[in-house]
Symmetry: C4
Subunit: 296 residues, 4 copies
């Protein structure tokens, strides 16, 4: 039974970081083909290390090519790797002090090749650096728990989201799904998705907080179910938010998942809107995840 509970937790569709909780086997991986995607998504420290390695490596290669051609750089010590290396740096970065300069046809050809490759390479690396910076990312906060409480008499599933950036998310849209294991008439087990209707699923501008509400009426797959019944089928409630970030005018996305033990029956969220002393409205985010039990 303990193993079952562990397996149940392992079957959660999204992990805590919102990534799929499933391995891939037998998919032909082609990291080289997807190098651009890789360079966009590796951590900054790896990106920087790779950039330095490429910079040093390429200049090292060109230094060797200059040395192979013999004594062909003015003012460079014949056969000196470092003189050739630093000359290569000055050429690739298009500094060109001229203290060391190509002195024959061979060196000039290599310089011409290095200049072209250098310009393209610098464009790609600096383009990648900026593309990484400019990648739109959502900083959306979801309440750690969802609650079920009556709203105008109807039991309603509620959770809160907040835009942690100071800016606005345009044309924001929320999707709420219930995922559970099911067995078809033909005897096949499948993990199926059911949409949970929200009383408000779209907002033209989402700038502060949004309390999503799903009324558990006769149409809801949650209607009349107990916490125990839901736990049995590895039920999970998956939230997905999409909108356009106002600052960068690009689509952003966030998602979250509540397992059944994170849904609190007969709880309500604490109010986060407070009035300041000078009678302005304020939002107190320290209470964002706070709930309290209600009595009937």
């Amino acid at each position: 039974d303990s193993a079952r509970r562990v397996s149940g937790s392992a079957k959660r569709t999204l992990n805590a970081q919102g990534r799929p909780n499933i391995l891939q086997v037998g998919m032909r991986q082609s990291p080289w083909q997807d190098l651009y995607y890789l360079m966009l998504t590796i951590p900054w420290v790896w990106f920087f290390v790779l950039t330095v390695l490429m910079y040093v490596g390429t200049n090292g290669c060109f230094a060797i090519v200059y040395l192979i051609g013999g004594n062909n750089l003015t003012n460079a010590q014949p056969g000196s790797f470092w003189d050739a290396f630093f000359f290569s740096v000055q050429t690739m970065a298009t500094i060109g002090y001229g203290a060391i300069a190509p002195s024959n046809f061979y060196a000039n050809v290599v310089v011409s090749v290095e200049a072209m490759l250098g310009l393209l390479g610098v464009a790609v690396v600096t383009g990648l650096t900026f593309a990484r910076l400019a990648r739109p990312t959502a900083r959306v906060l979801f309440s750690r728990v969802a609650v079920i409480a009556p709203y105008n008499g109807v039991p309603t599933l509620m959770f809160r989201t907040a835009n942690r950036r100071g800016n606005q998310i345009l044309e924001a849209r929320l999707w709420l799904s219930l995922v559970r294991d099911e067995v078809t008439e033909e005897g096949y087990t499948m993990r199926r998705f059911y949409d949970l209707k929200l009383s408000r699923e779209h907002t033209p501008v989402f700038s502060l907080t949004w309390t999503a509400m799903h009324p558990i009426d006769a149409d809801s797959p949650l209607y009349g179910m107990t916490s125990d019944e839901l736990s049995r089928d590895n039920t999970e409630i998956v939230v997905s938010l999409m909108g356009i970030d106002e600052t960068v005018a690009q689509t952003i996305h966030a998602r979250y998942s509540y397992i059944i033990r994170e849904v609190l029956w007969n709880h309500r969220f604490r109010d986060i809107f407070v009035d300041t002393l000078d009678s302005k409205r304020a939002i107190d985010f320290t209470r964002f995840h706070d709930t309290f039990e209600i009595e009937f």
Copy 2:
């Protein structure tokens, strides 16, 4: 009672600049994490000041590093900060006159580091400069007041918008909401949103002006309400416009809010379409906010 009116005005959801009128308390601010967003949104003068400070600061640091290594620059006065500083400028900007040049291993290594950081740094700063220029912004004008007047016999809420750019806004869409304070059956006060249906909410191309019309029929939350009743619940009418800017092919957005005292009962907008002397059509924007009272 005067305090109440002030508080009512303070509870307006959007302020005059269309930003939320609410403070945030207890949200962990992380300006460094959102540095990119910050650099995109600070005023130009601050952006320029920061760029100059970074340019001077970085070159100052490299100048000190060159000086620490001792007498290592050809033609530079030994120990001269300014010779080292200007050499650094010529290196980082990849000018490299060569009048001053690195003369030993130490200086060459520093040059190699500075060249790489310089290329990346210049890419980020110039990328930011261009991204700031290219950020899509809406220049949409809303009439300062909304009016209510009969249209084909039905009382209709109307306001005008205009695209102040000469270009076209594609797939433009308007949302109109009524926001007011409400108390649920369970006794909780909430600020709720109601959609106000527009007789035309979408247009494939929005290039000049658009008069939005909400018929106040039996389905409208405004049906049968007086100006006084609306004022009581801090009612506000929020407009939101979204579309794709034809010139830059990116999503733009504009919003506006009318409080009840900005909605004029039994008024009509003055016509802005005029015929010029050579019988061409023209729009006279000097009349854009003008209304006149109508009689029955």
Copy 3:
């Protein structure tokens, strides 16, 4: 009566190039604020002329600044404008031959300023150049006339569009509107839009041609109307196409307008699909605008 016809043609909402046919009066123009938009949309020849003027002008200004500082450039003829000008070019473009080089503090400071402004300026101009190239533009062809012919027994308005680029337009969507002058019960004349329903308004992929069809059934504003009745109210049929260009992954848009005399009653388009000798399908675009009269 001839004047009326001229006025009717002047009231066409879109002109032949698909731009609005209306002047703007009294709108405060702010060309400087919208300089970016201007630089994106002026013709290439003007863009190039402006770039050259700015390049020559800026270098001319810096040349004067160098001259003002007196004899401060090594190897430059004292007081020579052109030596200072060419030195400025070599600095701004970060070439820095070093044949001419700054020889004192004043010149070095000016070089530092010019290097920074040069890098930013080059970034903006080259960014603009690329943004102009990369602006997504639709190359969509509309048939010069629309026709009305029975389709499965129902009279149907049809016109043809074709994607003139070799690529694909994704999630393409067509809107068809009828625009005509109308007088409200209250006596105001307005130009109103009516949507004309298409039998297929969306296609996941639009790569070759698309024949749009609007069935003139009882729900259509065109139902039972004659060509003469339509002409009376300056009626016009406006088409708008939007989709995502597969190659550049950006939204593109095209529009066209048919006045009533461009709608041919009881005509049909010639077939453009032909079978080649090796029994492959081909499209013959030379017949794209061709129609023929049908008999009953």
Copy 4:
């Protein structure tokens, strides 16, 4: 009859690579106007060859211009093409060693022109290089066959798709169409599209696999049809998938087409979800295209 079958196969709307299977005749091709599109879509090897040719060609032209002006480069051998060529390379790439430098007005003017053109040209080429890298491409796998099998008692058309990238496709949407030849009442043959309704056509996040299901109920154009009847009209089932790539935040698209002989009646896909030894879920892509016959 064999010819008919060949022609039937030739009439497939999309070929194996998902491109339209139709030639274009009489469309005025304008490769120069669409040069930007061309440079984005030609293979990398051609792009690289063109870049090298342009680089060598432009520098060659400038070399000739320098030579025409006579003896105007310091340290260059008078009349030497290669000295002028390498000087041009050092100028265009803004290296500027200064070993060779312009020595008179003529050369300085040419340098100024080359510097400006060089900066713009490098911006365009490096911009193109990065734009090619950054073009969003879908790596979506479709099962090689579709199957028809009962699902909860209803015969259901199914096929599988998988996102071969490790990332997520946001707001993914599937369209399924049936395309077949038809003759209208008026006697015209047309290739018509019918939408096939999917039991789930949208998913907020598509990260691993998606089994699309079209229930063949009374509303389906496939209802009650046999494989033979479908083959007669060159019937084809076209799939189209669109969504937003999470990594690059741009719209991506994939499509596939099943001809009738690729639809397997009374088959089912093999399960690809497996449990690993440490009771984690995994997907085994080696079974992705595998089906097995079912019995009743």
